[in-house]
């Protein structure tokens, strides 16, 4: 039995795969933000009792958490002291010396997590090539350590310049500190958290990691304690921002790696479903109430980035490249001072929610537009649990229509188009702008409102296939359940891509390989489950942004250079439209991704024995001026192999799927809907 849990701000989702070929067990309950483990345990208790399951039969409990992210946003994290090279204690406050936006004089970056009074300098300075300009003053470090004796402090973060390549001074200072401060104070170095050049981002990542140690650590203690008492596995697996899982031990040491795992777990879930359904190249569209998250997976490999921010602070950790835009079901439609119709980024949220919820919302939202067009059930949503007041939706849309002097249906259609155009823009920037043609990809839509907007988005991008997984609203929990454990390793190289340097590059890879080996050992990954992927960051000398290229470290020097060079040229042309034949290429860093494949449960097949029949007909609008009699089917009734011709609407507990006129939908044996758009 495999359990996946996703703890979000509003809901805690649980997916349990009994691995006996029958349906996944799903549970959604309100989160308990003050102690997130409570909702998890409560949910598991009721699910297990209901289905008469034993906790001790659980193979794996995997979990995506926002404990760290929330702690940073609410600034409820640990107390940190920062120790840095002489002359640079303000570096982390100066940052990139920029304002968040050019034109807003009243907006600032968030205050640094370490007050200036807790930032200390010690004589120490190395140059870029490792030469010692000022030797580390060990006495100064010792004296400083003395000052932390009884300080109310959780962590000391050591941040020296050029430590990405020359970590010796940081490590030495940490060693001295550890010897002199109480054990309750953790001491970490910036190079151990993420050894890459660009000091501000590295320091910032290290400080965030230090500030999260106690918060995330104590949460994990409580969770594993409780899990252990029930007989659940105590080696809970935690989702990372890269989509892979990590052990509790790693999560305690590097809590910052979990901080952006929410959207990544969703993509991970999509990836697993797509693989089983036989898809290779997909773009994911996760539409919730407030925002839409999109990602691109070529050959089922998500692209990664390592530049992200949490609560306004930069972090450098491997992250799935998920692009987010403030357009979702709750996004509010409004007329700007310029007279044009805008949708979002403001959202009506869950409370008051769209006008049709009748909870006090007075502004038209994307959901209201879908109600007006009779695409959404205008009596109740969530299998009848959420009653809908259609008159409210109509009133808010009519109001906009009057102001715009347009037909109400056209305004409702326009609201959906504008919202979708923002999702399209988000997809363009991860596909077309990176040299990928969306036509070559299938759109995998999930989240509460993904399936509702998938067709509009796909058509705008020229995509012709849409995949809707069986449980679109709970895919993040599935993603945690079905991920492997992974770890990323990086070493800075800074050398020309040339035959003579290949031994250097391979030596760096050799160092990483040792770390990888150790990690496999520590995580008890069996040899046949080990996978290792190499890549390099490359750019032309003088450029500032590197491209990540997969490489084969076993090639001989000539071939390594030729192959890497060719891949670089191709990637540069795809991204920027040109490449230079003769300019030297610089290898900035060498990266290893280690994967420990985990045993996965069988995804269950759907159960219905005959084609589903419509439960009702609705007069829905898909095209300006045309309302059409549209059959409504229930997702649970669908039969494997069933073919549905549009127009049709398929309703389920957590989502509504729209099939446009002349499009067709095929139901596969796992219950995925595969929609083919008419040309």
């Amino acid at each position: 039995m495999y359990i996946g849990v996703d703890v979000g701000g509003t809901f805690t989702d649980i997916a349990v795969n009994r691995d006996d070929g029958t349906t996944l067990l799903l549970h959604k309950l309100s989160s308990t933000p003050a102690a997130p483990e409570e909702a998890i345990l409560q949910g598991l208790h009721s699910l297990f009792a209901q289905h008469d399951l034993k906790f001790t039969d659980t193979e794996r409990l995997a979990h995506g958490t926002t404990v760290g992210t929330n702690a940073i946003i609410q600034r409820k994290c640990g107390n940190v002291a920062l120790v840095t090279s002489q002359g640079f204690r303000d570096l982390i406050e100066i940052g990139r010396q920029t304002r968040p936006t050019v034109y807003d004089m009243h907006l600032d970056h968030p205050p640094v997590l370490v007050d200036r009074g807790m930032r200390f300098e010690v004589p120490q300075r190395r140059l870029a090539d490792g030469r010692i300009h000022v030797p580390l003053d060990e006495t100064a470090v010792e004296e400083l350590a003395g000052r932390f004796d009884d300080a109310d402090l959780d962590c000391i973060v050591i941040c020296f310049l050029h430590s990405y390549a020359f970590p010796e001074d940081e490590e030495r200072a940490a060693e001295i500190m550890r010897k002199h401060v109480p054990d309750t104070i953790k001491v970490i170095t910036s190079s151990s958290v993420y050894p890459e050049f660009r000091e501000f981002e590295r320091f910032s990542t290290a400080v965030l990691n230090g500030a999260l140690l106690s918060v995330v650590g104590s949460y994990l203690d409580r969770l594993t304690d409780e899990a252990g008492k029930l007989g659940l596995p105590t080696d809970v697996k935690i989702s990372q921002s890269s989509g892979g899982l990590m052990s509790v031990r790693t999560a305690r040491e590097f809590p910052v790696r979990a901080s952006l795992s929410g959207p990544a777990a969703g993509v991970q879930g999509a990836l697993y479903r797509a693989r089983v359904a036989g898809f290779q190249d997909i773009i994911t569209l996760d539409v919730g109430g407030t925002s839409a998250d999109v990602a691109l997976l070529k050959d089922l490999t998500p692209s990664e980035v390592n530049e992200r921010t949490i609560g306004g602070f930069p972090v450098r950790i491997p992250c799935m490249d998920v692009n987010s835009v403030g357009a979702g079901g709750g996004s509010i439609a409004w007329i700007d001072t310029d007279g044009l119709l805008k949708v979002g980024p403001q959202s009506a949220g869950a409370v008051p929610g769209p006008a049709c919820y009748d909870l006090g919302g007075t502004q038209a939202t994307v959901t209201d537009a879908n109600i007006v067009l009779d695409r959404l059930n205008s009596e109740a949503l969530l299998d009848g649990r959420m009653p809908i007041n259609k008159a409210r939706s109509v009133a808010t849309i009519d109001d906009l229509a009057e102001k715009l002097q347009m037909d109400s249906d056209d305004v409702a259609l326009g609201i959906i188009q504008v919202a979708c155009s923002r999702m399209v823009k988000a997809i363009r920037s991860i596909s077309i702008e990176r040299g990928h043609d969306p036509k070559d990809f299938a759109l995998l839509a999930f989240g509460g409102a993904g399936a509702l907007h998938a067709v509009d988005v796909a058509r705008e991008l020229g995509m012709n296939t849409i995949l809707i997984p069986p449980n679109p609203g709970i895919l993040c929990a599935e993603g945690a359940m079905n991920a492997d454990i992974t770890a990323d390793f990086v070493n800075t190289a800074f050398c020309e891509l040339a035959k003579d340097n290949v031994p250097t590059i391979q030596a760096l890879a050799g160092t990483l390989a040792k770390e990888v080996e150790l990690w496999f050992e520590n995580e008890a990954v069996e040899p046949q489950q080990r996978r290792l992927f190499w890549s390099v960051g490359a750019r032309y000398f003088g450029q500032n942004y590197e491209l990540t290229l997969n490489v084969d470290m076993t090639l001989d020097a000539d071939e390594f250079v030729a192959r890497t060079r060719q891949d670089f040229q191709e990637a540069h042309v795809a991204l920027y439209g040109f490449a230079s034949e003769d300019e030297p290429v610089q290898i900035v860093n060498v990266m290893a991704k280690a994967v420990g494949e985990l045993q996965q449960g069988q995804l269950p097949l759907i159960q219905a024995k005959s084609d589903a029949e419509p439960v009702e007909y609705r007069n829905s609008l898909f095209k300006s001026g045309v309302r059409q009699r549209t059959p409504v089917l229930r997702r649970v009734d669908l039969h494997a192999g069933q073919e549905i011709s549009g127009p049709a609407i398929i309703e389920q507990l957590d989502s509504t799927v729209i099939i446009f006129p002349n499009d067709t939908c095929h139901v596969d044996e796992w219950g995925n809907l595969i929609i083919r758009l008419e040309d």
Binding site: G87, L91, T98, H106, D338, G339, L340, S421, K425, Y576
Partner: protein, 553 residues
Amino acid sequence: MAINPIDAELMRNHMASIADEMYVALMKSAYSTNIKERKDHSTALFDHTGRVVVQGESMPLHLASMLGLVEIILEKYGVDGIRDGDMFLSNDPYVGRGSHLPDVAIAAPVFANGKLLMFVCNIAHHADMGGMAPGSMAGGMTEIYQEGLRIPPIKLFENHQLKQDLLEMILLNVRVPEERIGDYNAQIASNQLGIRRCKALIEKWGGDMITEGCDAIIAAVKKRTRAGISGLPNGVYEFEDIVDDDGLSRLDIRIRVKITVADDEIEFDFAGTDPQVEGNNNVTMAGLQASCLYCVKVLIDPECPQNHGMLDPITIKAPEGSVVNAVFPAASAARAQTAQRIVDCVLGAFADACPDRVIAAGNGANTSAAFFGQSQTGKYYVYLETLGGGAGARAYKDGTDGVQVHMTNTSNLPIEALETEYPLMIERYEFVQDSGGSGKYRGGLGIRRDYRPIGHTMTFSGQGERFRNQPWGIFGGGAGAAGKFTLIHDNGEEKRLANKPAALKLDEHAIISVVTAGAGGYGDPAERAEAGLQEDVESGKFSSDFMTRNYQQ
């Protein structure tokens, strides 16, 4: 107008995504640090008459150059002289529409079915444009000829063919041409990308709809700008501010403005401003326009999209030949310094009109430091950076410490990148104690950054502003501290340098220490909250001496 407000918004979104894509592609593939790290570049889409319809993320000072650029190309070549596959290049402030020579603008028409429908354009600040001094930004020059190569609008491409000979001529005139060619390639590729995307846009909407859409998008900004101005009280507002010097012959250059707000229109009149100067901090009309538009935008509607519609309700008058409306052959490389002062001056004037929106004077400069030399490996380098300083205190909170203000928001280069790429080292990068003016809300602190050449003798040139005239406080707030350049030898000898030093040589036994100005405070210091006073001392940002002098009841 046949296009409805929903389609106009859909088209605007699509166009904005094209301009943004051009912007990012240019930034990521460029070579000049100014572009790749400091984002000193802009992109825009135009309609067929040469009006800006959407701008990508952009540098405020480029706005006015964009606004006039295609009009000038149309004027010079005529609609019939512009064909599919042409690409135009220009950098001159007088016959082109630039504001200084290092900003190279490249524009290209977009045709569909043989009809001219749009233009795409980008502007980028090159690390060198030739001329007397490396970096093409140094002071000490008195006419534009000395500042670099002047290029009027010319065709760089004709019938899809690059005019190789023209490009060779340009490259022969600039330093480190092997890097500069990368910048030209990046700019050309950015436009080619923009053209491809615009063609798809036109195919989707149809040519007639595009023309209508452009009209509607411009009209929308017009309406929005007028609505914003209506929120300001009618009246006449005046202010005066001072530029330190021109680096050559003039001290304390005066800028005066009289602003008239009448319903939904604004007139700026700079009568009384000093004549243009011998030095290089003259602003041309394009720069003045950009500065005024920046002020209007920050005060009335920071999120307003930028296009030609902004100009509609705004009139700008300035004496010809003044330092804010300079005429040929005035040198203008350092026009940003004066543009920053125009912004201070305009915001100062607006203080009574909208006291809660204006802020006190900040470091008011693009304090810049340029380094040139030959590393031990024999490679020549040119490296320029601009430094932030204090930002002015606001109606509800302190000013920010160590940050870029107003017309510039360029990022620093990571020290680890800088020291890897150039034979330089940074010895300290920190706030300057006591440099923020006192007040109910205090001004931001200036920055100190020390540079040492490694293993060679380097040449330093710099531009400082607010090094003599301190940034003013507002509504009773104190002034911020002024900045300075200092040469410090390892033997302890210190020498205060000129505010705009040119071509100073130093070896590895000395450092250049740059201190930028702080910023003015807002409101009476006696009203400063206890928590603020405590934080000032505990953070070490202010000395107890400063606190005693400025906050004693």
